[in-house]
C-alpha cells in the first residue's frame, strides 16, 4: 500500500540512476528556486558529460555553476548565461557547448515535452539566429518557426511544500521554471522545504499534481540572493 508515497530520505536515493551523458532539466531562475541540494548531490556523484536544460547556469560558486568546476557539464540549453567566469572560460575554449534558447520558447519546449506535444510553432526568434535550420510556416499572414519539445532523463525541481503523494506547491517567484521541469523528466526529483500530510493541500491549490513526481526529499536551503536591491530609505 505504499505505491503513492514519494518521500525519500537520502540524497543518494533521490538521485539514484543518474549516469554519465544524461539530460537533466533543472528548475530555477538565476539563483531563485533552484534545487540546491540535488545540485550538490550531482557534484558529489561526479556524473560527467551531462546536458543541462536550465534558464541560467548559476554563478561561479553556487547553483549549477558548481558543476562547471568539475567539468561535469557537456552542454547547456539556456536563455541567459552571464554572471559566471568559469562558464565563460569553458565556453570560449570550446569545452562547453551552449544552445541559447529564448526564455519563453525554452519554457514552452519543456512544457511541450511533459505534455506529449513533440513540436510547436512560435513567432519568437523568426528572422534571428535562433531560426537557423528550423522550419518556417505562415499562419494568418505571419511567419513562425517550428520548435521541438525537450524532455529529460531527470528533472530536478525545488518546491515549497509537498504531501506524501508528491502534490506540490511553490513559493512566490521561486516557482518560475519548476512546474514545467516537473512534468518533463523521466524521473522527477523534488526538493522541498516542508513535507505535509496528504489532504493538507487543497486540490485546486496544487500547482503540480503528484502524477508527475517520482521522488521528494525534504531539505533546508541557503537561498542565496543574486542582486539585493532595497527601497531607498524615506
Amino acid at each position: 500500500m505504499s505505491g503513492f508515497n514519494k518521500i525519500v530520505s537520502s540524497y543518494d536515493e533521490a538521485m539514484a540512476g543518474l549516469t554519465d551523458n544524461m539530460t537533466v532539466i533543472a528548475g530555477g531562475f538565476g539563483l531563485c528556486g533552484i534545487p540546491e541540494g540535488l545540485i550538490a548531490q550531482i557534484k558529489k556523484m561526479q556524473t560527467k558529460q551531462l546536458t543541462f536544460v536550465s534558464n541560467n547556469c548559476g554563478v561561479d560558486d553556487f547553483g549549477l555553476g558548481i558543476l562547471l568546476q568539475g567539468k561535469q557539464i557537456k552542454k547547456m540549453i539556456s536563455s541567459y548565461v552571464g554572471e559566471n567566469a568559469e562558464f565563460e572560460r569553458q565556453y570560449l575554449s570550446g569545452e562547453l557547448e551552449v544552445e541559447l534558447t529564448p526564455q519563453g520558447t525554452l519554457a514552452e519546449k519543456i512544457r511541450a515535452g511533459g505534455a506529449g506535444i513533440p513540436a510547436f510553432y512560435t513567432a519568437t526568434g523568426y528572422g534571428t539566429p535562433v531560426a537557423e535550420g528550423k522550419e518556417v510556416k505562415e499562419f494568418n499572414g505571419r511567419k513562425y518557426i517550428l520548435e521541438e519539445a525537450i524532455t529529460g532523463d531527470f528533472a530536478i525541481v525545488r518546491a515549497w511544500k509537498s504531501d506524501r503523494m508528491g502534490n506540490l506547491v511553490y513559493r512566490d517567484t521561486a516557482m518560475n521554471f519548476n512546474p514545467e521541469a516537473a512534468t518533463a523528466g523521466k524521473i522527477t526529483v523534488v526538493e522541498v522545504e516542508e513535507i505535509v500530510e496528504n489532504g493538507e493541500l487543497k486540490p485546486t491549490e496544487i500547482h503540480t499534481p503528484g502524477i508527475y513526481v517520482n521522488r521528494v526529499i525534504q531539505a533546508t536551503f541557503e537561498k542565496r540572493i543574486e542582486r539585493l536591491t532595497l527601497a531607498k530609505e524615506g
Partner: protein, 219 residues
C-alpha cells in the same frame, strides 16, 4: 541638450495609458516605473512569473523567493499574481501585455531590432527579449541616438544579429522621439534645445522630417 537616462524614462512614461499591463526591460526601461503619471495606474509584468511587481523591499521585507526578471529583490502589489514561466510567456507571446519597453544596440527603419549579441564578444543570451518583441502589442525602444563613437544606432539595416524583425513601433532616444512605419523613421519630437539638424546628422536610416518638430515636454 540631450536627455539623461531619467528624462528618457520620463518621456516614455507619457506613452502609458491607464490600465496598461507593462513589461519593462533592464536599464533605462526599469526607470520608467518611477515616472508613471499620477492619474493613471499600470501593472508591471516581470517575465520570471510576476504580474503586479511592486517597489524594492525594505531590509525587513527582503525575500530570496521574490525577485524580478533582473534577479533583483522586489515586492508584489495588492492584486498581484504569480505563475510559472510557461504561463508568463503565454501572456507575453499571446499578446496580452499591452506595452513593452526595452533597450537595444541598433534599430532599423523596417522595425528590426538588434539587442542581445555582439559577435566575437561573449554571448550572454537573449533571455526573454525575443519573446517580448515577438509578442507585445506596443514596443518602445529606449537607447542613446548614437554610440560612444558617435555612430548612429538608427540604421537603414541592422548590422548585428537580430532579436526580432518588423516589431518596433517607436524609439525614444536622448535626442528624439521617432516612429517607425512604412520603411522609414518619422521624427515626431526633439529633445528640448536639440536641433533637427543634429538628429538628421545622427540618424543613418531614412528619416522623414515634418515641417514642424515640437520639443518634448519633460517636467
Amino acid at each position: 541638450m540631450s536627455l539623461n537616462r531619467e528624462q528618457i524614462a520620463m518621456r516614455v512614461a507619457q506613452e502609458l495609458k491607464d490600465g496598461d499591463y507593462v513589461n519593462l526591460g533592464i536599464g533605462i526601461p526599469t526607470l520608467v516605473a518611477s515616472f508613471v503619471p499620477k492619474d493613471i495606474e499600470v501593472m508591471l509584468q516581470s517575465e520570471n512569473g510576476l504580474l503586479g511587481m511592486g517597489p524594492y523591499p525594505t531590509k525587513e521585507n527582503v525575500d530570496a523567493d521574490m525577485i524580478n526578471a533582473g534577479k533583483e529583490t522586489v515586492t508584489a502589489i495588492t492584486g498581484a499574481s504569480i505563475f510559472s514561466s510557461s504561463q508568463s510567456f503565454a501572456m507575453i507571446r499571446g499578446g496580452h501585455v499591452d506595452f513593452t519597453v526595452l533597450g537595444a544596440f541598433e534599430v532599423d527603419q523596417n522595425g528590426n531590432i538588434a539587442s542581445y549579441m555582439i559577435p566575437r564578444k561573449l554571448v550572454k543570451g537573449m533571455g526573454g527579449a525575443m519573446d517580448l518583441v515577438a509578442g507585445a502589442k506596443n514596443i518602445i525602444v529606449t537607447m542613446t541616438h548614437a554610440n560612444k563613437h558617435g555612430h548612429s544606432k538608427l540604421l537603414s539595416k541592422c548590422t548585428l544579429p537580430l532579436t526580432g524583425v518588423d516589431c518596433i513601433n517607436k524609439v525614444v532616444t536622448d535626442l528624439a522621439v521617432i516612429e517607425i512605419k512604412d520603411g522609414a523613421f518619422h521624427l515626431l519630437e526633439r529633445a528640448p534645445g536639440v536641433s533637427v539638424e543634429e538628429i538628421i546628422e545622427k540618424t543613418d536610416g531614412k528619416l522623414i522630417v515634418p515641417d514642424d518638430v515640437p520639443e518634448m515636454k519633460i517636467d
